[in-house]
């Protein structure tokens, strides 16, 4: 039984790969070859360094109470729809935003009060806000959505599916992320390729490329297997046997995968631990009770150790949860926003402290936005949402995209204030990839293929 399926699977994979290669008109092994090309053009000495940090907000972050309508007309509509979920307008005065490019129709927006730590970064021009961004296959009008007359992202409104859609741009059956796709093209510029894609928050397909492998550690750094080089239960023989058992090549695929992970854990820990130990303590304070801050602090430490780790181009992944607020919204949402704001503010300050603020770009991501309508105690699964891009190279202090109409059954609404996105995640990825130094051709063919459905590709929020 199993053998038959295996042969079948191998045949399918062969066909799949042939189709991919055929579509791009190239022969294998394409990625390695391209990687060298990008690396040669991108890497320019030890001062040359760039990193992307994906901050994933698991559960679907509510847009309405993250970037809140503030001009009196829009606020009134927001308050009427949101009812008990609405943030009182007087609480928004201190975080009302004064963007460098005003929104049309006298629209103004405010950060949630809990996001106050991000306002100075916005005001200094290092934080940009993407309005109504989400997963799209192609530009889509409300009429097209209702008629289902254009391709839509599959399995809308489902957490796991939309998380993967966000992280992969829909490519390759959701098994390759665009972070990993970028790393494929740049990892040859890193002397230790294992450190090209690092997740401090568990498994994320965002970090998997064709060749790039996500390397995972905790906020405490990579753990070490105890007594591996010495004695276990008084015996050096037990220790050496352990090492042989857990690292030797295996022919069974699952066993092989397991031992590859374990061997990578041992080798990477040996390289990473001394590099991290040599990083001086930061002056920037981090809230020890904030899990996301702990992850970002580890990212900052890895960036500080970039020379020892031989890294010139890196992609990081961190995450925090608690956003799926069907209930308990008015206490839960401020709490999770506080976590995000404090963690991002500390991280940005650290990049300034390290002198790499213009070399590190962070961005938020989430499953989807939520309904603007209330269910009495919370909001339900939506689609488009608002997101942040932060860093010294970001042309911040302003909004990108269009402020959605504040209404139910309005021009941007697919039901109960679920936003039909007007910016796509692919456009975000394309813009960030260009900043990382990846060619337009490679971005469109290998990293975010859906961008070919969009005429406007680079959103223009990154400095050259």
């Amino acid at each position: 039984m199993h053998i038959d399926r295996t042969i079948d699977l191998q045949r399918r994979e062969f066909l799949r790969r042939s189709l991919i290669l055929g579509a791009y008109g190239m022969a294998a092994p394409l990625v390695s070859t391209l990687g060298m090309v990008e690396a040669a053009s991108a890497a320019g000495g030890p001062a040359d360094y760039k990193a992307l940090v994906c901050v994933f907000l698991f559960g679907g972050n509510d847009y309405g109470n993250t970037i809140v309508p503030y001009d009196p007309l829009s606020y009134s509509a927001y308050s009427t729809i949101r009812q008990t979920l609405a943030t009182p307008r007087e609480q928004l005065a201190a975080t009302a935003l004064n963007p460098s490019v005003a929104l049309p129709n006298a629209r103004t927006l405010a950060l949630a009060p809990q996001l106050a730590p991000l306002k100075p970064i916005f005001d200094a021009g290092h934080l940009g806000i993407m309005l109504n961004i989400g997963n799209l296959v192609q530009p889509t009008t409300l009429a097209e959505y209702k008629a289902r007359s254009v391709p839509l992202p599959p399995k809308l409104f489902s957490h796991a599916n939309q998380q993967k859609e966000w992280q992969t741009g829909g490519s390759d059956k959701l098994t390759r992320g665009w972070g990993g796709g970028m790393a494929d093209l740049m990892m040859n510029a890193n002397s230790m390729p294992t450190f090209s894609c690092i997740s401090v928050a568990g498994n994320a397909v965002f970090m998997s490329g064709h060749e790039a492998i996500q390397y995972q550690m905790s906020s405490n750094g990579p753990p070490e297997i105890r007594n591996l080089g010495t004695r276990i239960y008084t015996s050096s023989n037990v220790s050496s046997t352990l090492r042989a058992l857990i690292t030797s090549p295996r022919s069974h695929w699952l066993e092989q995968n397991l031992n590859q992970i374990t061997k990578r854990a041992i080798d990477a820990q040996a390289a990473c631990a001394p590099a991290l130990a040599a990083v001086p303590a930061f002056a920037t304070a981090y809230d020890a009770s904030n899990g996301l801050a702990g992850q970002l602090k580890m990212v900052a430490r890895l960036i500080a150790a970039r020379t020892s780790l031989g890294a010139t181009r890196q992609v990081f992944f961190v995450s925090t949860g608690g956003f799926d607020l069907h209930s308990n919204f008015v206490t839960g949402h401020p709490r999770v926003l506080t976590t995000v704001a404090n963690a991002l503010a500390s991280f940005y300050a650290t990049t300034v402290e390290l002198g790499v603020a213009d070399k590190v770009t962070s961005f938020t991501a989430s499953d989807f936005g939520r309904t603007l309508s209330s269910n009495g105690d919370g909001a339900d699964h939506g689609w488009g949402s608002h997101h942040f891009v932060m860093g010294g190279a970001v042309k911040g202090g302003r909004f990108y995209g269009q402020a959605p109409d504040v209404s139910v059954s309005g021009p941007d609404d697919v039901g109960q204030g679920r936003l039909l996105p007007t910016l796509s995640v692919d456009q975000l990825a394309y813009t960030l990839g260009g900043w990382m130094g990846i060619s337009d051709t490679n971005l469109a063919s290998l990293v975010v293929p859906q961008i070919r459905n969009f005429s406007a590709r680079n959103l223009g929020f990154m400095a050259a």
Partner: protein
């Protein structure tokens, strides 16, 4: 070892029958939690002790194993029970609910889960209200969506062999739309905890064991629908729910959707289409005209030729999940708690997984997970447990087992320790000791090279003639630890 002897005497099927016949052991998880001292180690959200106690010391090991599997399909997360004053007791009652219905019909199981206070709190059916025309407030959609997507049907139409039904354009066919979720949510309104009149949760702790009740004043008026089937306005809340569950539990996806996941939890990650078809057929009809007979389904999953014959091929088997490894070790060596408090705790940080502690309703891992960027990914091989197998978790698991195999789990007041006293007699003979644990832990699945390497390492630990016990213990620990680290143990085939 005793059970292996019984099975070899009476055969698999009769052993299963004996296991099915075992009564629910007392005290249940909820009842045991009530006996623990307030403010003691178990209170304050420590559901873990109650569940580990069931998994490790329950005399009904088949039921416990199936309940663990069900808890990863009908998922709650004990740390995320909204509006519950004692989530420990509430989660304990949920475990009891799964125990009570594990071998009944799927329809009964789904109703019990749907009306459990724990699920009501976790996915917010509790407190979901009809449309409020004044505020525009809408029914909560959380349970309406997840019960369809994750608990009984899935996102796309399935054939009995688990493959997707395709339309004429070769596209998958969705089982529902967002509009249908919204309409269905109205049918699930009005439910709340069943508290004695005028009592607070703290004053009526047994409410956690009672199904939720419907408050007619918060139940939506008018017709509702479930997946397009109209639920007439005349039906009250309980009748509307019953009709909705009848529709959900008669969907052709039930067999392949639930059957495949039970196979994955209990047998292998990549069952053949024919295996899934056989389970779907049993789900649809147990041979006596009963649909969703879980006892028959579990029997079919475990006795299928594909489960019983040695699996071949490089994609066979499954990665043993960390909870199963730990519980298996603890059961095999008769772990006891020195003071009965079972202070094992949430082992997420130590094993990478702990029962009832999934991060969301999507479980610890998803049934379709394919590891990217590996031979598995290149060959599209599903391996759900690898979703939580990372460079970090492989190391913390090894470190934790290295410690607890020798020392047990110590707290300031007690210890949960294995009993190796009966093992000492085997430890002089390294080859015999390793062979014994190959059978007990790995089902005889270790390869010849692994056996030889471990035997050699164990044999290398000297045993002093004057004071043999220290050396014998080191041999026992080393044999267990090296087996539980070996890839041919961790991949169960």
């Amino acid at each position: 070892m005793e059970d292996i002897g019984i099975v070899s005497t009476i055969g698999y099927a009769k052993w299963l029958d004996q296991q099915f016949a075992r009564p629910l052991s007392k005290p249940s998880a909820w009842a045991w939690i009530q006996t623990q001292a307030q403010g003691g180690p178990v209170s304050g959200g420590q559901i873990d002790a109650a569940v580990w106690r069931r998994l490790i010391s329950g005399p009904d090991q088949l039921r416990q194993r199936v309940v663990l599997a069900l808890s990863e399909i009908l998922v709650i997360s004990a740390g995320q029970l909204d509006g519950v004053s004692d989530p420990t007791s509430m989660a304990g009652a949920f475990w009891d609910t799964l125990e009570q219905h594990a071998f009944g019909t799927f329809r009964q199981l789904l109703e019990a889960v749907t009306l459990s206070g724990a699920m009501g709190a976790f996915l917010n059916m509790r407190g979901s209200k009809k449309v409020n025309p004044r505020s525009g407030g809408q029914p909560d959609e959380n349970y309406a969506r997840e019960v369809v997507q994750l608990f009984c049907i899935g996102l796309v139409e399935l054939n009995p062999d688990g493959s997707s039904v395709l339309d004429r354009n070769g596209q998958e066919i969705y089982t529902y739309t967002q509009e249908q979720v919204t309409a269905f949510a109205a049918a699930l309104t009005g439910w709340d905890f069943n508290l004695a009149a005028g009592k607070k949760q703290q004053d009526d702790p047994a409410f956690a064991t009672r199904p939720m009740i419907n408050n007619p004043s918060q139940f939506s008026t008018g017709d509702k629908s479930v997946l397009g089937t109209v639920i007439p306005a005349a039906l009250d809340g309980p009748a509307a729910l019953a009709m909705a569950l009848d529709v959900l539990c008669n969907h052709p996806n039930n067999g392949p959707f639930i059957g495949r996941q039970l196979i994955q939890r209990l047998v292998c990650s990549n069952p053949s289409p024919a295996y899934i078809s056989r389970i779907s057929a049993v789900f649809n009809n147990n041979g006596k005209g009963v649909r969703g007979d879980m006892r028959a389904v579990v029997t079919a999953v475990l006795l299928d030729p594909e489960a019983r014959l040695p699996a071949a091929g490089p994609a066979s088997g499954k990665l043993r999940e960390p909870i199963v490894r730990f519980a298996q070790w603890a059961r095999t060596f008769g772990m006891t708690s020195s003071d009965g408090t079972w202070q094992i705790g949430n082992l997420t940080g130590s094993l990478g997984q702990s029962p009832l502690r999934a991060p969301s309703v999507f479980n610890f891992f998803e049934p379709d997970y394919v590891p990217s960027n590996s031979t598995l990914g290149d060959n599209d091989v599903t391996a759900p447990e690898f979703q939580i197998c990372t460079e970090s978790t492989v190391v913390v698991y090894l470190n934790y087992m290295q410690s607890v195999i020798a020392s047990g789990l110590k707290s300031s007041t007690s210890v949960c320790a294995p009993d190796y006293s009966g093992e000492l007699a085997y430890a002089n003979d390294a080859a015999g000791l390793v062979a014994r644990y190959n059978l007990l832990l790995a089902g005889g699945g270790l390869g010849a090279d692994t056996l030889s390497m471990i035997t050699s390492a164990v044999n290398n630990i000297s045993v002093s003639a004057a004071t043999p016990e220290a050396g014998l213990k080191n041999r026992i620990w080393a044999a267990i630890f090296l087996i539980m680290a070996a890839p041919d143990y961790l991949i169960q085939r």
